[in-house]
């Protein structure tokens, strides 16, 4: 969990898909949360000493960050590193979920129509080279994001509604929006200013106005040439040498960034503008070292041997390998609910899944409780809605969808499915005098055993109900292509939601997103949902938003476009020498608050 949150405004496909289910999400934005917010205080280790500085924190990571360019980097590994180097203008307090100023002096002044935001920056904030953070840097950052040739389409997407950005004074920046959106406070607050003098030392974008970037091809040739040159340099030259205003720095990339081994961040030299403020990501430890080990078994051994201090563990490791007294003496574990959930998506471009009754019947055949107990070893919880259950927007009236094969048969019969030819498979009149069998294939990505086991368990139950279902695991890239082009029947995937930021279901459930490459990859179309989602986005009253989302959740519950299966718990293990470990309701802990008593410090 970090201070930053800019990219976490909507649900996100679980990256676990790629990483074989390794529970690494406690380091992603708000992807984990604690079961009981009231337990926060009790979780902190009792201590009477005041926190002291020193020691290192060694965090296990499964793979190297691909790139440390804060705009073009697009992987979870990078964002957990970059959060220490690039603090945002405004952050979400993990305890209260309120917005609080970081680089900004205070929360922005917002126009009543929510179309204009003015941020005043603190005057004492400096980049690690000592130069002050100015409004010009914020404008530059937004220009770099908007620049069509900068490889940042994801970031560009978040700031799409920004229509203009100007520096009013040295420390005042004004941002105009083309339309009101309730998450703008979060998204704009999430801007992480980049030093213009470093990332664009020739000031190539200097005379390019923000608005001109929308009509890039119409730029005058000389301006365009400079802007092109900027994009090329920015894309290529800043992948291993980030420089920002944060507490930690990558001091010497040659020494501290060793592919396949480590990313080592060190405290920047004093004076530091946020010194003594762990809530602004100033850590007590002197170094944070991300240790790359792509073998989680070896990483667990390293944790027990004391060369790794914090890691996400797999369920089987959590249950079977943390128990012995020698380990308990040194290692603490933590179990959190997580914001991610696993689902079976029914592609509604396939005729068989277009009928709500069929989808309801299939959901009745998925024994969520049993799957949580057997497949997930009890370390997952059944889910009924796409919203993170700890968020206030979650509709608590949703009852668990029952596992009920008899009811499923009844629904299928009602929908006109019957085994007329006696081959053991239900069939349906295909409208042309023939019969279509109830036959489909569920796909998921190879390498994720949890999803494979889930697939095998459900097809077994489907077969018993006269449904000819099969399961196949395919390579991640192939899965992406097939899902993107709706070329599949059903798919097991996951999404990750943030606990810190209000949800926005638009991306996944609005019918306009049911296009090739859109996130509504099951092609769910419902006019009621569309209109609720649109209203929700411009509703600035949280209570009214909740009412709208209760309706959306009730419709989704009834329609069962996905069978929502389970939310895996996030499992963490860490070295007990750390004090000040607090688990927040928004998910995870602030590692900047972790400290080690002088006597127990290990690295000097």
């Amino acid at each position: 969990m970090r201070l930053g949150f800019p990219r976490a405004c909507a649900l996100a496909l679980s990256l676990l898909a790629v990483s074989c289910g390794g529970p690494t999400e406690q380091k992603q934005d708000g992807a984990a949360a604690q079961t009981d917010p009231n337990a926060t205080a009790a979780q902190a280790q009792p201590t009477s000493e005041p926190p002291v500085r020193g020691d290192w924190l060694v965090i296990h990571t499964l793979s190297d960050p691909e790139s440390l360019n804060p705009l073009t980097a697009n992987d979870a590994g990078a964002s957990s590193v970059l959060g220490w180097i690039f603090p945002p203008l405004v952050y979400v307090d993990p305890a209260t979920l309120e917005l609080k100023p970081a680089i900004a002096k205070s929360l922005p002044e917002v126009a009543p129509d929510h179309l204009m935001y003015e941020y005043t920056l603190r005057e004492d904030v400096t980049f690690s080279d000592g130069k002050p953070v100015t409004a010009e840097d914020v404008v530059f950052t937004l220009k770099a994001i908007r620049h069509p040739r900068v490889n940042a389409p994801h970031a560009r997407n978040y700031y799409e509604a920004v229509s203009d950005a100007t520096a009013l004074r040295a420390n005042v920046v004004r941002i105009r929006m083309s339309k009101p959106y309730f998450l703008s406070d979060y998204q704009l607050g999430g801007i992480q200013p980049l030093p213009r003098h470093y990332y664009d030392s020739e000031n190539l974008l200097g005379d390019v106005d923000f608005r001109e970037l929308d009509k890039y091809d119409e730029l005058p040739p000389d301006k365009k040439e400079r802007a092109d040159r900027f994009a090329k340099q920015f894309n290529e030259n800043f992948n291993r040498n980030p420089m920002g205003p944060g507490a930690l720095v990558l001091e010497n990339p040659g020494r501290d960034l060793v592919t396949g081994e480590r990313v080592e961040l060190r405290r920047r030299p004093e004076p530091f503008w946020a010194a003594g403020h762990p809530e602004l990501n100033d850590p007590y430890v002197a170094r944070i070292l991300f240790r790359v080990m792509n073998n989680t078994d070896a990483a667990l051994v390293a944790l027990k041997a004391g060369t790794v201090d914090l890691m996400g563990v797999r369920p089987v490791q959590f249950l079977k390998q943390m128990g012995d007294p020698k380990t308990r003496e040194r290692i603490e574990t933590h179990e959190d609910a997580s914001g991610s959930y696993t689902y079976i998506g029914w592609n509604q471009r396939r005729a068989i899944f277009r009928d709500k009754l069929v989808r309801q019947a299939l959901s009745h055949l998925v024994d969520k409780k049993n799957i949580c107990a057997k497949v997930m070893l009890g370390l997952a919880d059944p889910v009924e809605s796409p919203i993170y259950p700890k968020r206030p927007e979650y509709d608590t009236k949703l009852a668990p969808w029952p596992f009920d094969p008899a009811k499923a048969k009844e629904l299928l019969a009602k929908a006109g499915w019957a085994d007329t030819n006696g081959d053991g498979v239900l069939d349906h009149d295909d409208g042309e005098g023939g019969r279509t069998p109830l036959r489909f294939e569920i796909i998921s990505n190879s390498g994720n055993d949890d999803r494979k086991n889930l697939g095998l368990v459900v097809i077994d139950e489907f077969k018993r109900a006269g449904i000819d279902a099969s399961f196949r695991a395919v390579d991640w890239t192939i899965l992406l292509e097939r899902v993107k082009s709706f070329d599949y029947d059903a798919v097991i995937l996951g999404w990750t939601a943030s606990g810190a930021i209000p949800p926005d279901l638009y991306q996944i459930w609005h019918s306009s997103m049911a296009v090739e490459g859109g996130s509504n990859h099951i092609s769910f179309m419902d006019e009621r949902v569309d209109s609720l989602l649109t209203q929700y986005r411009t509703e600035f009253d949280a209570v009214k938003r909740k009412a709208l989302y209760d309706q959306v959740q009730e419709i989704l519950y009834d329609e069962q476009p996905y069978t929502f299966v389970y939310a895996p718990r996030s499992l963490t293990a860490f070295d007990k020498r750390f004090h000040g470990v607090t688990w927040y309701p928004a998910g995870g802990s602030l590692e900047s608050e972790w400290w080690v008593p002088s006597g127990a410090q290990k690295y000097h």
């Binding site: 976490a8 496909l13 069509p148 799409e160 894309n235 592919t259 890239t477 296009v515 490459g517």
Partner: protein
């Protein structure tokens, strides 16, 4: 002789060029025809991003970004054109830039090659240091208890799956619940510093590499020592050995000089065959022991469809294979005077 040798080498190199081109072109085409598009992988909206999707209104922008990236990476060209560009770059000494992080491929290789070569060279040295004496002793006392026991042991070791043993060693000796004798992964300590004395550095790296080297070398003693043994036994029956013994040459000299030297011929051939293996590294062991070597890089690059890196690794490995064969032939001529390179020769 040496002129003939040079001419032979030149001819072989000339022949190697078309072979190299054809093979790399084949590899290039297969790689591009395989499913999975790097641009989709890096820029896919919604699904792959691990983030929110791209809005419908902005899909055009996403498509434009993809087209832009495709153009930038040169993927918009037909495969033969892309290949020629790559080949042209190679001739000029430019391997291109990685798709993933835009670093020059050469830099990425240079970062990892020393690790893999170091480990493989150390493994090779250890293998020879153990296998050669083992082979000689087995050949000197064939059928003895030593011969039978050592043969049994090395075959048993040969049969142990390396990846399994590696995990077991980490669990039992990596300091988890059992013995903290060796570090569970990596090639040096977290505190490793360039200020350390040379001896400390060597000790630290050696400590980290003990388990990986043990596992790497386990399976290789067998082949080498068996080859040497049978080759020596064969040579021991030769007339020149009997002659040497008859004229009173001391037994150690017979074994080492007369039999040993002649038996080294197959060793040379094996050594040359090892050359490409030197840089390829082991995907499995590097992954299990978290060693940032070439094998790991290759594996990750294939998963990420990072064509320039995959291709560079393939070209290096294939180039070394060709070189290895050539070197083996030439070495063979040097150690074995019976091999000639006249036109009528081979």
């Amino acid at each position: 002789m040496s002129w003939a040798l040079l001419a032979y080498a030149a001819r072989r190199i000339a022949l190697a060029v078309p072979t190299f081109v054809a093979t790399t072109f084949l590899a290039f085409s297969i790689m591009h025809l395989a499913p999975g598009d790097p641009v989709e992988l890096y820029l896919a909206g919604g699904l792959a991003s691990g983030d929110a999707g791209i809005r419908a209104e902005k899909l055009a922008d996403a498509e434009r970004a993809k087209a832009e990236l495709r153009r930038e990476l040169g993927l918009d060209q037909p495969i033969p054109v892309q290949y020629l560009r790559w080949l042209g770059g190679l001739v000029a000494g430019d391997l291109g830039r990685s798709f993933k992080d835009r670093l020059p491929v050469w830099d990425k290789l240079v970062e990892r090659i020393p690790v893999t070569i170091g480990i493989d060279a150390a493994a090779l040295l250890i293998t020879y240091l153990i296998a050669v004496p083992l082979g000689i002793c087995s050949a000197v006392w064939p059928g003895s208890r030593f011969d039978r026991v050592s043969t049994g042991v090395i075959f048993a070791l040969y049969s142990v799956p390396g990846f399994w043993l590696a995990v077991m060693l980490i669990v039992f000796f990596g300091g988890g619940d059992y013995f903290a004798w060796f570090p569970p992964g990596g090639i040096r300590s977290l505190e490793y510093s360039s200020d350390w004395s040379f001896a400390t550095k060597v000790a630290d790296v050696g400590h980290h590499l003990a388990l990986p080297l043990f596992v790497t070398t386990l399976g290789s003693y067998t082949e080498l020592s068996r080859y040497l043994r049978s080759s020596m036994l064969e040579n021991a029956r030769q007339d020149f050995v009997r002659t040497a013994r008859a004229k009173g040459v001391p037994e150690w000299s017979v074994v080492l000089k007369h039999i040993g030297r002649n038996s080294l011929i197959p060793m040379v051939v094996i050594l040359a065959g090892v050359l490409p293996g030197l840089i390829s590294g082991s995907v499995l062991l590097e992954s299990i022991f978290s060693i940032p070597g070439i094998g790991q890089l290759g594996y990750q690059s294939v998963l990420a469809r990072d064509y320039p890196v995959v291709l560079a690794l393939f070209a290096a490995s294939f180039g070394l294979t060709l070189l290895g064969i050539l070197v083996a032939d030439i070495l063979l001529a040097l150690v074995d005077p019976r091999v000639t390179f006249g036109k009528s020769g081979t």
